[in-house]
Symmetry: C2
Subunit: 157 residues, 2 copies
């Protein structure tokens, strides 16, 4: 993830826009629709990162009637609002997961996908310092750790 921070009510996208002091235009019209709620709910229930396609398939199984296009759009919007984490898998597929507000990284199980959010103030500082030393500004960074969790390792996969 990037060091840019976001903290907002986790579901602006399905909130009524009316009541709030219309200061900034949301990334999307922000109208609470059945489809958006379905996507948000699916994410809320998910423990691991999922691709748009996976979420769409899951909704279909659940007879939720949401178009693939809409799933993509909703996920993009949520990502822009910083309400979900985005990860580009090695194979190029983009995956999403609900996340806590602040800046954090991930420890992901290669086998079952279980994900632990982690923080590393020391690493943040190191990254910033290193970039500065080389004259770089507007620094962001990505850091993900992959491994095999205890459960999966136990099952001698």
């Amino acid at each position: 993830m990037t060091s840019t921070e976001h903290q907002q009510p986790a579901e602006r996208i399905v909130d009524r826009p009316g009541a709030k002091g219309a200061a900034s235009k949301p990334a999307i019209g922000a109208r609470p629709t059945r489809q958006r709620r379905a996507v948000v709910d699916a994410l809320a229930a998910a423990e691991v990162f999922h691709s748009a396609q996976e979420i769409h398939a899951q909704l279909e199984r659940r007879r939720a009637q949401v178009g693939l296009t809409t799933v993509y759009r909703t996920l993009q919007a949520l990502a822009e609002l910083g309400e979900v984490d985005v990860l580009v898998r090695g194979d190029g597929e983009t995956v999403y997961r609900r996340c806590s507000a602040g800046h954090h990284h991930h420890l992901v199980c290669r086998s079952c996908g279980r994900t632990v959010e982690i923080e590393g103030p020391a690493v943040e500082a190191w990254a910033r310092r290193t970039a500065q030393e080389h004259g770089f500004a507007q620094v962001e960074h990505t850091l993900e750790i992959f491994g095999v969790c205890a459960d999966c390792a136990g099952q001698a996969l």
Copy 2:
């Protein structure tokens, strides 16, 4: 441009296989062909990460007659041999760059693409320790820092 970087024979892929004690099979037949040399040369000259398509386009401009498929295959082979770094850009495109041997990370300029290889023993240790704390084994990690280099920042892009 800050040249004077590491120069290694980093071209196993075009070396004759004969002489070496045929212990392990290379990721590719390792026959030195005009096409492979062209790709390796293009990488040797490159200062920044490039996609297969970009390299192919460049070779074409240079009238080097190398098929796109071959560029892809050669880059994959080089990556498997660890002779180039692979990065999956945010948009999912895979990019390559020649690199020094050991484990390292990158500091990349968002504007011009200039890349600095960096090391962070402390970070390595931290990652390992953190993973262990959560019971994860077979740990790997990815870490890239993005920013705007001094030159680009100066030009008020």
